[in-house]
Symmetry: C2
Subunit: 373 residues, 2 copies
DNA sequence: TTGTAGGCGTTATCAG
DNA sequence: CTGATAACGCCTACAA
């Protein structure tokens, strides 16, 4: 009896209600009632059964219970990457709500890849989860999510909205947030403003093209990255600042190295920008690093506005002006919507837009303003 | 047919193999074989069944499958707080390995509270997960983990080791890591070195006492925080630097506000330390913030060494000298051990000690060395 | 090759 | 108040 404590095989078969019943000398039905606390059971027998259960180390089998009841008290979250603080915080919000409701959450990382996301949803569905929160990779190709809904599993979108899917979504107004950030720079007198961000691989090529009007147009689905570019362009147009494709640099998610290269390319432009908007937290860090690497001073040599109010943005010198959102609330609210659906709410899908805030700190400064009409 | 797409009730009963069988005009057994790809099935019938399944939108019921097979292909992770980058990164490592093995992971946050951890383990056990990775709150009171093992569910400890439990643990050598960090400061000529950290609520009182020898003794279980204090004291003793309880300030986890107060108390000491070792990533941030708030220069006015090589420690000015560990590897290796156990490995519990590295950057500098014998 | 039947553990229904 | 029995959906002996 020295070993097999550490390993998997340790236990012989786990005791069941039947075992407890036998041990207590009653029927399975009675044992079940005594343990599950339903129906009527005599006091004496109840204690007897409880004692037997304790003696045997009985633990109810949730799988069997789910089998009968149809409910698993489990939800799923398909995020992009839990090691990104944005999703980690959202997950925390989701877990908190789930725990309050007596549910657990299964986590899957998609790395923003549609194939992985699809597979994850499929597995979750097979596991009979009762609802899914997902940060979808694609906003059009959502067949797998529709399928979930058809199966009676509610879906709530987090961070991204889909026009195709009739589901709740918890998002921010990406275009407005970007426009506010860039306007801030423009009002400070900057004219040549760059933009740096990560985009999804499937969306990257030909993101931006010149139209007949001379204005920059942005083509692509309404995803956060694309919407933020739209906000940037809108602000530039509004303030009459000249736009140029070369001022918008991006890289596909997960390639931090490329990102720094793009940032440097931006800084090395013949007519380099005097200010840059980094449109996500990865780009913010990449830009900051690149600027530092070039030995440039912020905001003296170059101004910047970042995205996401991560802790480090106030630790750094100078503290960064950023667009702040609240992933914790996002996760919480998404989960709350999900549980409302699980409980039967079948009103039409709602688009919940959480506020963002431009937190002005010290990384963006004036440019001896040469304002334009 | 306008609505009920969004809500939970959407689906009528989900189709089962029996439904598919009926639709295809074959027996359940044949349908099962065709769908599950086991046994022999005629080509014609197989296609027929597949078609019927597609028509009905059949999706296998994992709960029923688990019921029969006994396996759920699910593991659990009980971490302290997923919004802490340390645990978020560890979770990523765990998920990656799980996915490779065809498993999913359920996440639970304990907030470093034993009662929550116990409840989480209980629920996970009921859900019939096949293994648990846990960052245990207590290293002695591990009855709930022993129970898991007795039930045949392998347990792997992450970040913390328990002498009581015969389980694998994946940890770092906390005492050695702290000693190295503090020795670094001492070798730089500092004599009055402070320490700042978070400790578990249950361990906080009377952490440190004077003994007859005049040396500082550290009482408490072998948890990371306590071990790091031991390392600090060992280094101080080794270099003949005078120790004092007032130089060691801590707060319970999750109370960041108190932490900054403790940091300030340290800086305000009549005989203030010339260097401080922040022994975890929360303390590192708190210390840095407090020092900044006091307008002190690093390392000119005060030197510091932090813990955990988070991104921001290199973004900040000056870049911080830190003790680095790899939570991603920790998660990965813990999960790998867990799957080895799940597959039947029942060798005695192994203590896997991952390396740490003192990364010397610029936050600790010399003190016109007044060395001691 | 295909079909029939039984059981995994729980809970609920129905008799006694 | 207690006991026997059926059912959830899948898989697998076993029989045809």
């Amino acid at each position: 009896m020295a070993s097999t404590k550490t390993g998997a095989q340790g236990g012989r078969r786990r005791p069941t209600v039947a075992d407890v019943a036998r041990e207590a000398g009653v029927s399975v039905a009675t044992a079940g009632r005594a343990l599950g606390d339903y129906g009527r059971v005599g006091d004496a027998l109840r204690d007897q059964v409880r004692a037997a259960a304790a003696r045997l180390g009985y633990s109810p089998n949730g799988v069997a219970r789910s089998m009968r009841s149809g409910g698993t008290r489990t939800i799923g979250f398909v995020g992009v990457d839990i090691s990104n603080p944005y999703f980690a915080t959202a997950m925390r919000g989701i877990c908190d709500v789930a725990r309050k409701e007596g549910y657990e959450a299964i986590l899957a990382n998609s790395d923003d890849r549609l194939d992985i996301e699809r597979a994850a949803v499929k597995v979750l569905l097979e596991k009979q989860i009762e609802g899914i929160v997902v940060a979808p990779n694609a906003v059009i190709d959502v067949g797998h999510l529709q399928r979930a809904q058809e199966l009676g599993v509610p879906v709530v979108l987090l961070d991204r909205h889909s026009g195709v899917l009739d589901a709740d979504s918890v998002v921010i107004d990406n275009e407005a947030a970007a426009r506010e950030a860039v306007s801030h720079l423009l009002r400070l007198g900057h004219r040549r403003v760059g933009m740096l961000l990560c985009v999804d691989p499937s969306e990257s090529p030909e993101l931006v093209r010149r139209a007949g009007t001379g204005r920059l147009e942005v083509h692509g689905a309404a995803r956060p990255s694309i919407d933020r570019i739209r906000g940037y362009v809108a602000a530039m147009d509004q303030y009459g600042a000249p736009t140029a494709a070369e001022l918008i640099r991006y890289t596909v998610v997960g390639e931090a190295a490329h990102l720094e290269r793009e940032a440097e390319a931006l800084l090395d432009l013949p007519d380099a920008p005097t200010a840059v908007f980094a449109a996500d937290n990865v780009a913010t860090q990449g830009l900051f690093t690149a600027v530092r690497g070039r030995g440039l001073g912020i905001p003296d040599d170059i101004s910047m506005v970042g995205f996401d109010d991560l802790d480090w943005t106030t630790l750094v010198d100078p503290p960064l002006t950023v667009v702040a959102q609240s992933p914790m609330d996002m996760g919480r609210i998404a989960a709350e919507r999900l549980f409302a659906r699980i409980k039967g709410d079948d009103s039409p899908g709602e688009r919940i837009i959480l506020p963002t805030e431009l937190i002005v700190r010290s990384s963006a400064a004036g440019r001896d303003a040469v304002h334009t009409a």
